[in-house]
């Protein structure tokens, strides 16, 4: 897959008054990936997005989009961008179709056919000629995505796009974004404070905290790193000491769990078959093995905790 950088953050910093809201960001967003921008409320996600689209000035550093500086070559840079900043605020007194026509006119070469195609794509065909004031938040979210995709951008920026969507809508959005990135090579930049969703939606996750980037990794690495899972073991009570010793041989520590014959070990899920074999070979009667995978959320909370 085409993996050239679409967005390049170069020491991007935003200072408002005396407060540093976004602090020295340096990373790339590549074509063809869904990039998750994760952070608790107030971390500076929206502020970063505002800088990416030129709504606010960058205090220090720069952001390049397709090689063009958003600060000094605004029109060339923004041409490749589609997005929603914060809420999908559209013209409520116009119809959905009029809204799309409005944005289509602001770009060259968007045909009627393209508008209809995108309306179909986001599933608003039935209500597109109704006034936006009658739309639910989910429908406005979809209309927002429609205006963002009209001109086939190479970078799609969505700020908390799952707000207001029902679970089915979220699943559909997830699939759409993956398809856009993986099939059409669009760089998709999604911010969220909801980790469980990011985990399923994104290829790569950057964690922002108090304006600083604290981690950036592929989602697999993010989830599995550092023996993320806990393996709960139940063995014959008389065999717990022997079990502990055997596990120590694996360079791991077994810790007593709640029950008298329960132990838990922090380890990778893919090491479980080995553990099982070791115990069986040594005549341990394993009553149950149960893997508790930690979610990204646990890891995220832990990461946030460490920062404090």
């Amino acid at each position: 897959m085409n993996q050239q950088p679409i967005v390049q953050f170069k020491h991007t910093t935003k200072i408002i008054g005396r407060k540093t809201i976004v602090n020295d960001l340096n990373f790339d967003v590549l074509a063809g990936e869904v990039f998750g921008f994760l952070g608790p409320n107030g971390a500076g996600k929206t502020t970063t997005i505002r800088m990416m689209v030129g709504l606010i000035k960058i205090s220090r550093g720069d952001i390049l989009i397709n090689g063009h500086s958003i600060a000094s070559q605004f029109e060339q840079a923004i041409r490749h961008v589609g997005g929603i900043v914060e809420n999908p605020d559209l013209y409520k007194y116009l119809t959905g179709y009029q809204n799309l026509k409005h944005y289509a006119r602001m770009d060259s070469g968007i045909s009627k056919k393209r508008i209809n195609e995108i309306v179909e794509h986001v599933g608003l065909k039935e209500s597109i000629h109704n006034k936006v004031s009658s739309y639910s938040l989910g429908m406005r979210q979809r209309l927002g995505i429609a205006q963002a995709l009209l001109h086939r951008p190479s970078l799609l920026i969505l700020d908390e796009p799952t707000n207001g969507l029902d679970p089915a809508g979220i699943r559909k959005l997830r699939n759409n974004l993956k398809e856009l990135a993986h099939q059409e090579g669009v760089a998709v930049f999604v911010s969220s404070h909801l980790l469980s969703e990011m985990q399923l939606m994104c290829d790569k996750i950057a964690v922002l905290q108090k304006g600083k980037l604290v981690s950036i990794e592929n989602v697999q690495a993010f989830i599995s790193k550092d023996s993320i899972s806990r393996v709960y073991l139940e063995v014959e009570a008389s065999q717990t000491e022997l079990t502990k010793m055997l596990i120590a041989d694996l360079n791991k520590t077994a810790i007593a769990g709640n029950g008298p014959n329960e132990l838990w070990i922090q380890m990778n899920k893919d090491e479980v078959p080995e553990l099982n074999k070791l115990l069986l070979d040594n005549g341990i009667r394993v009553l149950s093995i149960h893997v508790q995978e930690r979610t990204l959320e646990d890891k995220f909370l832990e990461m946030m905790g460490e920062e404090k």
Partner: protein, 310 residues
């Protein structure tokens, strides 16, 4: 640019407020002309009527409390009435053009409505949050602001045209379509009584009034762009307009007031030869207005271009 302007026109046209304003504009204009017709008294002998008027004017001029503006107006009318009798020129029979000329006050209504529309066109994008999606397009902020400004200006021009057409239409029902060649007595810039084409005077008054309208539009637009608050923009602009009317009188005493927009924003003063100060001319007023328009527009642009859009 055409696309941007059609977008802005679409946004103006699709608002309820716009249609309420257009309805009021037409209703008030038509109402004024109908009322005028109803209160009209038929004239049987114009010479006797003019003599009567002359006596009344002379009586008025002897009263001391007359404001300078009123005094000049009465003097002008007296001069024309005397001229009529002297040269035996009958007043023109009622026609749509003369009626339109008399209703110069309708232009102030256009100004008020134009202020309301102009106050909303930028600040509304901020209050509804739509400014964000508007600005993340491959157009400079200058172009986006300019397209809004042009659209409001075009809308104001349309309102002026609607007043003109409505007024003409209603008068035509009463007085017939009128004759483009009709002449009547006016005072020229030198204060001499002259015969002038009524139609051309009407076109001149309504046409040139676009500049005062535009200057209030620009003021309201600038305030709403800078403060992002349409209520304040309407309030401040209307306040200035109302205070401004009383400043026209003061301008006759205090010379530098002529450089403020107020004494320059009523074109009918020049049609009826009532300049606030003797040295003020039509082209002076138009120049002053043009300078203010440029200043207000420049201010809006500077603020809009630089601002962080939250």
């Amino acid at each position: 640019m055409i696309g941007l302007i059609s977008n802005e026109m679409m946004k103006i046209v699709n608002r309820k407020l716009t249609w309420i304003i257009l309805f009021l504009l037409i209703a008030i204009t038509a109402g004024s002309f109908v009322m005028n017709k109803l209160t009209e008294e038929p004239v049987s002998d114009w010479r006797a009527e003019q003599s009567e008027l002359i006596e009344r004017y002379q009586g008025q001029l002897e009263i001391d409390e007359l404001s300078p503006q009123m005094y000049a107006d009465t003097e002008n009318k007296l001069q024309i009435a005397n001229y009529r009798l002297e040269k035996d020129i009958a007043p023109v029979s009622e026609n749509p053009w003369s009626a339109l000329l008399r209703f110069s006050g309708l232009i102030e209504m256009v100004i008020i409505f134009a202020i309301v529309i102009a106050a909303d066109v930028v600040s509304r994008e901020y209050t509804s949050g739509t400014i964000k999606l508007l600005l993340i397009r491959p157009h400079s902020r200058a172009k986006i602001l300019f397209s809004k400004y042009i659209s409001v200006a075009v809308f104001a021009l349309c309102m002026l045209a609607i007043v003109f057409v409505t007024g003409y239409g209603v008068s035509a029902m009463f007085y017939g379509f009128g004759n483009l060649g009709t002449k009547d007595l006016f005072l020229n810039a030198g204060g001499e009584v002259t015969e002038m084409n009524v139609f051309l005077q009407t076109v001149k008054m309504y046409g040139l009034s676009f500049l005062p309208i535009l200057s209030y539009v620009t003021l309201s637009f600038a305030i709403s762009t800078i403060l992002r608050n349409s209520a304040l923009a309407v309030g401040i602009s209307l306040f200035i307009m109302i205070v401004g009317n009383s400043i026209i009188e003061a301008t006759s005493r205090i010379s530098w007031l002529k450089y403020l927009p107020f004494a320059n924003s009523d074109i009918s003063l020049y049609i009826f030869h009532l300049p606030a100060r003797p040295e003020m001319t039509l082209s002076f007023s138009l120049t002053v207005l043009a300078v203010y328009i440029a200043v207000f527009a420049g201010l809006s642009w500077m603020v809009f271009k630089k601002r962080d859009t939250a």
